[in-house]
């Protein structure tokens, strides 16, 4: 970051400051928001469990230093301002005064240092990687936190949302076995809502944290998360007003369209910019014919991704052009495009020698269907039909979550579908899928397809530690060109999950973190 960018960042921080802390006209106190949590989370402490439902619910209970807007720029969270030294090594955060935990004890910079350096490095895989870059973390006074990095890490300021660096109370966890702490059941954070009751299998009841540090917030009195396992029942609950908000995959994609016609509801795909769920057809690069680049390029040609977006995801998706989502920083759309062309696919397969036999069959490939809902099954059927057009039999193999995780993690598959969050910056959410240092057997969401290219490794490594944004763009543009040519995985869609809510509720989607937000500013009109 150069001096000019540094000044801009400071101005942005200053400009963002008043956003959350003043009460605009029309914001009223009171009201209950009924919503859904699916599946039921195993616990609510986001420092120890990072499943999506845990983060949605825990996001109301635990906070971090920053939030990120739809443009992925940092906004004040518990930190009201921040400074980055010109060498990009020292990050100084100033906290809001009077922040308290739900048990009434004050939250200070000591809690931040303890959470980031002691707890999260032990229990949170993503945070462990981020904070491993920190040489020292200090709390010179109760409202100041200073992180000193070992070497510059460009996206460090992007590591402080409530899902990546939740702050837990030092006075509860210090000196204990974090995961077994009996107070985990109480879920004590600093968020605008605190846990009142959790009736397992039924609902989780959050109520207002009266000592919340932002004036007048939270506006709502309570939020009730209902556990409704059946997707048809969830849709019904939204339809008849039992719940006023759904998020992520609560509603199946094929049901989303009908809610657009329901007048009292707002359907938006905003609020997922930070996560930018990116989906692809994963091919085990170690096995023939997937080990041939021409085969993988043929796959890009033989899938009609526009039709996939329209027919399987009912328009709740956008065709992906490469490894970086168009919503993520450093996206470059000026890459080779693979149009839908059966002829081009056949030509590539012929060229590599994968010719049809007397029955017109070129190959048989096993496709493990991810067990994450109806849409994955439908996508599998769509792929099977697509591959059949060029004489490839795609055999769909069913399994459950445990079976899928084991097969993919241990490289015991030929093809499957996968989806990862981009986390706002390619260094945080994209590189992990392609760099050869992340080919780790037994580890899901690593470079499981086994793609290796030294030039790609070098570009990703350099981009992560380069502070100059223009230079980073150059590096990421180059890496996108190489990857799109090599097709380590066949990118299909940028999924656009909906957030559907009753229009009586305002400020529901106010940042790029969407439904994982604190909801302190949400109010009922």
């Amino acid at each position: 970051m150069n001096r000019r960018e540094f000044t801009q960042a400071m101005l942005a921080a200053g400009a963002a400051l008043p956003l959350g802390i003043t009460r605009a006209a029309g914001q009223t106190r009171g009201g209950t928001l009924n919503t859904i949590i699916q599946p039921e989370p195993p616990l609510l402490v986001t420092a120890f469990n990072q499943q999506q439902p845990t983060l949605t619910l825990g996001g109301k209970i635990y906070e971090s230093l920053l939030k990120y807007g739809a443009d992925l720029k940092p906004m004040p969270g518990m930190a009201q301002s921040w400074e980055i030294s010109p060498d990009g090594l020292t990050y100084t955060f100033k906290l809001f005064p009077n922040i308290t935990f739900h048990d009434g004890k004050p939250m200070t910079s000591e809690d931040v240092v303890f959470s980031c350096m002691k707890v999260l490095t032990e229990t949170h895989p993503r945070a462990r990687q981020n904070f491993a870059r920190v040489a020292s973390a200090e709390a010179p006074d109760p409202l100041t936190v200073v992180f000193k990095l070992k070497q510059p890490f460009a996206p460090f300021l992007g590591c402080f949302d409530c899902t990546s660096a939740p702050i837990v109370p030092k006075h509860i966890y210090e000196g204990t076995d974090f995961r077994k702490n009996p107070l985990n059941d109480k879920a004590i954070g600093t968020g605008p809502f605190k846990l009142k009751e959790w009736v397992r299998g039924s609902h989780v009841h959050l109520v207002r944290h009266e000592g919340y540090y932002l004036k007048d917030q939270p506006y709502l009195d309570e939020i009730i998360y209902r556990i409704i396992p059946d997707s048809a029942s969830r849709a019904l609950a939204l339809e008849n007003g039992t719940v006023q908000l759904v998020q992520w995959a609560d509603i199946e994609f094929f049901d989303v369209q009908r809610f657009k016609a329901q007048k009292n509801l707002e359907v938006t795909t905003k609020g997922y910019e930070y996560f930018a769920p990116h989906q692809w057809l994963e091919m085990n690069n170690r096995i023939a014919p997937m080990n041939d680049k021409r085969f993988r390029q043929a796959v890009m040609h033989l899938i009609d991704r526009d039709a996939l977006a329209k027919r399987v995801y009912f328009g709740s998706a956008k065709v992906a052009t490469g490894p970086i989502s168009s919503k993520t920083k450093f996206y470059d759309g000026k890459v080779k495009r693979y149009d839908y062309s059966i002829e081009k696919a056949k030509a590539l397969l012929d060229e590599m020698g994968l010719k049809p036999d007397a029955n017109g069959k070129r190959a048989e490939i096993k496709y493990v269907v991810p067990p994450y809902g109806e849409s994955y099954q439908r996508a599998g059927e769509f792929f099977r039909q697509s591959f059949a057009r060029v004489g490839i039999d795609l055999v769909l193999v069913g399994t459950d979550m445990a079976g899928w995780a084991e097969k993919v993690g241990n490289w015991d598959y030929e093809m499957t579908q996968n989806l990862l969050y981009q986390l706002g910056d390619p260094a945080l959410g994209v590189a992990r899928t392609y760099v050869s240092s992340n080919i780790k057997k037994g580890i899901l969401f690593s470079n499981t397809q086994g793609y290796s290219n030294p030039e790609v490794d070098k570009l990703f490594d350099e981009a992560a530690v380069t502070l100059d944004e223009a230079r980073r763009q150059e590096l990421y543009s180059r890496v996108q060109q190489i990857l799109v040519e090599d097709v380590p995985v066949a990118w299909t869609l940028e999924l656009e999950y909906p957030i559907i809510y009753d229009k009586a509720f305002k400020n529901v989607v106010s940042t790029g973190i969407g439904s994982h937000e604190t909801f302190g500013a949400v109010y009922k009109s």
Binding site: T32, P39, E40, P42, L43, N49, Q50, Q51, Q52, T123, P125, R126, R128, Q129, R179, K180, N184, D185, V199, R200, G201, S202, H203, H205, E222, I224, R226, I227, I228, P229, D230, A232, S233, L236, A237, E239, N240, T242, T399, D400, M401, A402, G403, W404, A405, E406, K407, G409, L420, Y421, K440, G442, I443, L444, F445, S446
Partner: protein, 333 residues
Amino acid sequence: MIRLGNAATIGLMALSRIAQLIAVILLIATFNFVLVRAAPGDPAQVMAGQSGASDPKLLEDLRKEYGLDKPYVVQLASYLGRVVKLDLGYSYRQRRPVADLVLERLPATLLLTVTAFCLALLIGTTLGALAGLAAGTVLDTVFTVLSLVLYATPVFWLGLMLVLVFSVTLGWLPPFGYETINVKLSPIERALDVAKHLIMPVTSLAAIYLAIYARLMRSSIIEVAQQDFIKTARAKGLTGPSIVFGHMLRNALVPVVTVAGMQAGALVGGAVVIETVFAWPGLGRLTFDALLQRDYPVLLGIFLILSIVVIVLNLLTDLIYKLIDPRMTTGAA
């Protein structure tokens, strides 16, 4: 004399069964352990998978915490040691004792399944008996067709249709849940509220059991009606009701009790489909989730409880046989 002998035999049989029970439970516990571990998948991988992030340290930590890093034999020995002490273990995934998890779900499940079971048994046997007594008539045909239709109806479909009619269209009943959340009610109001929530899940679940008992009872009545002792009763000059209640029903109930005894075990396990459709916070759903997550301690705990319940119910079924039909005690049957 006969009654005393009967009681003594029942007592002896119960004692010998209890001795067998302990051996069987340990055997079943071992079998459950092997069976659960035979399924592919690793709870640490599932948890890492659902978190969208994974690294070697996380997997290593989780496996260590779950005790999965130890050899199978050591894990089995430690599990059996806990079973002997009646300790159901600890769910590391949910970070709570398995006994707590099961106990908090059991009341909802029992309320649902026992109500459905009793209703089905009562209505099913009554309808079956009426159909059997009126065999060959229009009434018999109507009952038979009705029970066949109910038997063939997928339970989730029936549940959804009930919701569509009684919740969406008519707005009479709550579509799902165990009770109205976040309202203050007196105990009586609360009981009525739960009862209201119970109607549709119970109806859906009872439908299939009802059909089974009705069909079973019908054929059983028809068979018993042709027995010599019924002819003797008629020859003695007994009238219709005293033949039916004094002779036929008691004998016709034996196969129904057999089937009901077998099915009663499944009641404790809950009704996964119904609990899912109606968001009923029961044990069936807990079992299903535990299976998907490979939450071994929860699965093993539930399986163990189910095994014990099935054994105990079988024992009770045998005892009920003796009460219904004393001939079974002497081996004359």
